[in-house]
Symmetry: C2
Subunit: 151 residues, 2 copies
């Protein structure tokens, strides 16, 4: 995104001109399945990034928590999220706020990708992962059964 043009056209299928499709995280650093990351805006003022994450059908993001907050808007597909002690069904255009130090995870439905925008501070703390023995109780509100502890 070094060129920073005024307009980046959507080139179809949730890809954009000049925006790289990145790994969600480095392999092996945390459990997840089938997630990509694209940085749509990287702003100095506000010191914030707007990212687009896409979770393939049946995939899920890492179960984690951190001090920084997430402001999320679903723009593709549907699925579920866990935020703290509650699970929510998510559809396109729904908004999610993840407060500080709150366990959270996003899961795509089985039949289509779940794509969402996520606004975060540029300077933010690293996620914490649950201990293996904590995962079942944290994810209990999700209806689709216990998530894998390794992706």
């Amino acid at each position: 995104m070094a060129d920073d043009p005024l307009v980046r056209k959507h080139s179809g299928d949730y890809h954009w001109q000049g925006v790289d499709v990145l790994k969600y995280k480095q392999d092996g650093t945390a459990p997840f399945r089938d997630v990509t990351r694209q940085v749509l805006f990287d702003s100095a003022d506000p010191p914030a990034q707007l990212r687009y994450f896409e979770v393939a059908p049946g995939g899920y993001t890492t179960l984690e928590r951190h001090e920084h907050v997430h402001s999320v808007m679903v723009i593709r597909g549907h699925g579920q999220c866990l935020v703290g002690e509650k699970a929510f069904e998510l559809g396109t255009n729904d908004l999610v706020s993840v407060p500080p130090m709150t366990w959270h995870q996003f899961r795509a439905a089985g039949d289509e990708p779940l794509g969402f925008l996520c606004l975060v501070a540029s300077n933010r703390d690293r996620p914490q992962l649950p201990k293996a023995e904590e995962v079942d109780s944290i994810t209990k509100p999700l209806k689709t059964g216990s998530p894998p502890t390794r992706g």
Copy 2:
């Protein structure tokens, strides 16, 4: 948005539970036509707001400039934008960056609304308006003719 729930469901037609549809600006403060504003996220860290603006068919935002930047993503419909000395055709999912002190305006097509997300710093300067005699030359790149100087 005082209650700040974890999830705000999209209630259809680009309205959200608990999100007020606001005037774009106070009447008479600046020229515009048929624009509404909704604050989807009002974040302390990053100190930023994510707003949803909707321009009705044939409507347009104020022609203005300011020090703060706009990071914009179209999520509904199509239209045009002016950014500095260029006009761009816009469709759904296109991204627009408005640099500091750059004249800009968003216009909806005649056949459907133009809806877009706009990320801004919470603490930002007030927009500047062009002088009446400057409008024609600033908006020359737009194909649809000179915009009105009063909305």
